[in-house]
Subunit: 135 residues, 2 copies
DNA sequence: TTTCAACCTTGACACTATGTCAAGGTCAAG
DNA sequence: CTTGACCTTGACATAGTGTCAAGGTTGAAA
């Protein structure tokens, strides 16, 4: 009943066929059952899982974190605090990335604002990079 | 006169010995001269270049962009507008990253705020990941 | 002078997440 | 039966960095 091939699974889930094979290989997902000729076959439940994975990936979760989330998703005995903890750890990482990014942006913006551009070789940006101190 | 080995060059520049070899191999920097026994020897000018590279890396420039910047840095005929253009392209990328990050953070924050935590298996975060639509 | 530690060399393999390409098997339609 | 679209596995690539192994070098102490 309604088992689909890898290409269709990729289309429906938004995860590439390549990544479906990869996720299977690293054990993130259960190996798909195979047709007589060896083609992978995906059930609707498997597709739901794949969509979950893609969404988690869109939120920037690492493969390891997604693995944790999948286990929790499959576990009816889970404590929602465990899920929350994974999410909070990730949020923390995202905040740190954001801070680093904001730092880079402000430094770069200042450098750019001090460079008049044009044909003059004298360039504030190059000088600043030479002399800057990392935050 | 004051040629130093790779370990000392790494210490002075903040670029690891491994990366010094790597940058040489990919052609980002000129091959270092060698001692009789084959050790790489770095001049003070080379160290300045390495410090420049580290700073550029701290600003998030890619290796390819750093390569461009190094060429411009070495070219007395450069137009500062060229440097500015590289910097502006990078700034643009950083802004895009920042937007993606901000999106992720706000989605994640909303999910987290809707999950009470505790031992209850009922988890808003998992549900939201299942049903979310990527921005 | 021998020895030992600390350094250097190259090369290989690892990571993350994804793409691409090649050589070959399969399926469905004409 | 051929053709095209699909599937298979495996290998290699990306970017930036780390680690490990096997071996040569250097300088200082014994």
């Amino acid at each position: 009943m309604s088992m689909i091939n890898i290409g269709e699974a990729a289309r429906q889930s938004g995860v590439s066929a390549k990544m479906l094979r990869h996720y299977e290989q690293i054990g993130l997902i259960e190996p798909a059952t195979r047709s007589d000729s060896g083609y992978r076959l995906y059930t609707p439940a498997a597709i739901s899982t794949l969509i979950f994975i893609r969404h988690a990936r869109d939120l920037g979760f690492s493969t390891a974190q997604i693995s944790d989330l999948l286990h929790l998703r499959n576990d009816p005995q889970r404590a929602s605090s465990e899920v929350k903890s994974v999410a909070e750890d990730h949020l923390q990482e995202l905040h740190e990335q954001q801070q680093r990014l904001t730092q880079m942006i402000s430094m770069l913006q200042e450098m750019i604002s001090q460079c008049p551009g044009g044909n003059n070789p004298d360039c504030a940006i190059l000088k600043k990079i030479d002399s800057m101190e990392a935050s």
